[in-house]
């Protein structure tokens, strides 16, 4: 089965030009992503999460590895995550308490209860929240990176798209537009086997997503999405090329969505042995830990310290916000426009 092919990209003997601190930093983001999502699952089961819960289990490696290749901070690079790229937002500086507040629709959340899950942004930190219409962020990121180019700023954009998302019209229009304009944009195409319940065979007639890149005349590569360091290296190369003026870079990451589309989805359409194999044999965090230990890059004690710190951080973040109020109803009215400042309160509410 194609999806079980063992990774062909091996991690380098030396850790990708990264320091020990950076290697531990990557591990921290991986653990933070998984622990935060596990906490969200618990809150979901307690009905504290208002809407759906979308897990990135098994995909933390590609989210963290790709984002880690960007320049972070003010006037740095900008990425646009999808629902399974929580890890990339944490790398850019999103705080767990913001994610928790957003999922629980708290008044003090980043969108003050207006939007769900990871749909929020901080352009200063370098992430632009998605909307639910898949593909739409590619034209938008084309415009952001076109602006970098017009202003001569040495900045790069990175946008994620799932295998199913590549079927949309905006994916095509945006990628073509960005390719023609030679925008400094890196497109991470995630082959994770499932678009809700639809497998790639019903989504497109090419074998691999990388085959699509040829049609746009953009440079493309494929990487094992569950090998964090390989993703980091491949993205780093793509980012450097984009920054150097080589135009759009397309990177297909091979991975696997190990939970349902959202928490309500029982995954009955997925072969259980396949899920089991990816969990036991190809978990991105397990593989990374094995690499770190085998190469003596860090010791186990350091990793368990990170685990403990992350647990405390998530506990504190949860305690800080779980009992916070939801927004007051009338705060729904302001902010549709810069001017007028608030929508009209309708007459029957004043009766």
């Amino acid at each position: 089965m194609a999806s079980r092919t063992r990774p062909t990209t091996q991690s380098p003997p030396l850790p990708a030009g990264l320091t020990r601190e950076q290697l531990l930093g990557i591990y921290r983001y991986l653990r933070l992503t998984r622990t935060l999502e596990e906490r969200l699952t618990a809150l979901y089961r307690q009905s504290k999460v208002i809407g759906g819960l979308f897990r990135s289990l098994g995909q933390e490696g590609e989210s963290v590895g790709s984002a880690y290749a960007l320049e972070r901070g003010k006037n740095g690079d900008i990425l646009s995550p999808l629902i399974r790229n929580l890890g990339s937002m944490l790398v850019m500086g999103a705080r767990p308490v913001e994610i928790l507040r957003q999922y629980m629709a708290k008044a003090d959340g980043p969108t003050r209860g207006r939007e769900l899950n990871v749909h929020f942004n901080d352009l200063e930190l370098g992430y632009l929240g998605q909307i639910s219409h898949l593909g739409d962020m590619i034209p938008v990121m084309a415009g952001i990176t076109l602006t970098f180019k017009l202003r001569g700023e040495p900045r790069v954009g990175l946008v994620y798209i799932g295998d199913g998302g590549t079927s949309t019209g905006t994916f095509h229009e945006g990628l073509n537009f960005a390719a023609v304009q030679r925008c400094p944009l890196v497109v991470i195409a995630e082959y994770n086997r499932w678009a809700y319940s639809t497998p790639p065979e019903k989504q497109f007639a090419v074998k691999d997503l990388v085959d699509k890149a040829k049609g746009y005349g953009v440079a493309a590569a494929t990487v094992d999405g569950n090998d964090v360091l390989a993703v980091y290296q491949a993205t780093k190369l793509a980012v450097e090329r984009a920054r150097g003026g080589a135009g759009v870079q397309f990177l297909e990451v091979k991975t696997y969505r190990r939970k349902g589309h959202a928490e309500h989805d029982d995954q009955h359409y997925e072969p259980p042995d396949e899920l089991d194999w990816w969990a036991k044999q190809n978990d991105p965090i397990d593989r990374y830990v094995k690499q770190l230990i085998q190469h003596d890059w860090v010791d186990e004690r350091e990793l368990s310290d990170v685990d403990e710190h992350v647990r405390v951080e998530i506990d504190e973040a949860t305690d800080a916000c779980v009992d916070e109020p939801l927004p007051q109803g009338e705060t729904a009215l302001p902010g549709v426009y810069a001017n007028p400042r608030a929508a009209e309160r309708l007459w029957f509410r004043n009766l």
Partner: protein, 326 residues
């Protein structure tokens, strides 16, 4: 004082904003060296360079999406739809992405999407549309629709300077038909959200916008000559946000109102205006609110068919007579 066409006035407005603010840039199909299908951007590429007058692929969703991204980064993009009929291809980007951006994410998205609208030009179903009703229902967008050369200039300048996304609808039947003296060196900026009293009258009010402003003025002239009926004509200029105060002022003055638009009837803007008058000025009405609009069919090509489907001056005259006699 030089006499300029509606199209030249629009062109001047765009040009002046490009000169004034280097964050302003244009993107669209054939807008560069070719100067646009109707020559609105003729000479722009030579003056401002290919970086600020960007020829794009035939990709309306990408044009609007890229404009949104640039706007987030502090630019002031003006996206041209070659014909406004094609804005439907960008409906998702405009309504889901652009219109919601400030509300859901606090993202400033100051962009203008503009393009030639309207019929009376034998353009057939896909080069004659009036798309306002499709966007009128979307909180977060503004919609302007100038009828005069002065407002073509004043509203494009106001739209570019506005901090919200604006759909700027320009009527291609007016492009070279309407001329006006515009003083050189005068800064013309038409405030968004303010209607214009195009003709004063006391017997009934015609509330309209776009090309039918001119047809309504013709009708009003005829009514005065032939019937001694004094019709007031209100040119809305901005559809979203709508100038309720101006509408209610004229309703309370004449007590009879005829709503006229070139777009089809069902779900059209006139229905919303009628509802607002009902809610805000019911006691002032001496007659039912009546509509003159296009018939509810796609706009056909043959002159005989198009003329039948679209509201004509004579239709407005007859409807106004009916109202005056009520």
């Amino acid at each position: 004082m030089p006499e300029v066409t509606y199209l030249e006035a629009l062109r001047q407005g765009l040009w002046e904003e490009m000169e004034r603010d280097d964050r302003v840039f244009i993107l669209g199909e054939d807008v560069g060296l070719y100067g646009g299908a109707f020559k609105v951007t003729e000479g722009f590429s030579q003056r401002f360079g290919a970086q600020r007058v960007i020829d794009t692929p035939i990709s309306e969703a990408a044009i609007v999406g890229a404009a949104a991204g640039a706007a987030h980064m502090g630019m002031r993009p003006v996206a041209e739809m070659q014909f406004i009929d094609f804005v439907s291809c960008a409906y998702d980007m405009l309504t889901n992405y652009v219109a919601t951006a400030r509300y859901r994410a606090g993202l400033a998205t100051p962009l203008v999407v503009r393009g030639p609208c309207g019929g009376y030009v034998r353009g057939g179903p896909f080069h004659s549309q009036n798309p306002e009703a499709a966007f009128f229902h979307t909180p977060g967008l503004k919609i302007v629709y100038p009828a005069t050369a002065r407002d073509a200039k004043g509203l494009i300048k106001a739209s570019i300077r506005d901090d919200d996304p604006v759909l700027y609808l320009e009527h291609k039947w007016l492009y070279r038909r309407i001329k006006e003296q515009l003083p050189e060196g005068e800064e013309i900026v038409t405030p968004i959200g303010e209607a214009r009293l195009a003709r004063e009258g006391t017997d009934l009010s015609i509330v309209t916008y776009g090309a039918t402003v001119w047809k309504s003025l013709e009708a009003a002239e005829q009514l005065e000559q032939e019937d001694g009926v004094a019709a007031e004509v209100l040119d809305l200029r901005t559809l979203l946000p709508m100038d309720d105060a101006a509408i209610m002022r004229t309703v309370k003055k004449t007590n009879k109102v005829l709503l006229v638009h070139e777009d089809t009837r069902t779900g059209g803007v006139a229905g919303e205006i009628a509802a607002r008058i009902n809610e805000q000025a019911f006691e002032w009405l001496d007659a039912p609110i009546k509509r003159v609009t296009a018939h509810d069919v796609p706009l056909p090509y043959a002159p005989t068919l198009e003329d039948f489907v679209l509201p004509q001056t004579e239709d407005i005259v007859k409807a106004a007579r009916w109202l005056a006699a009520y």
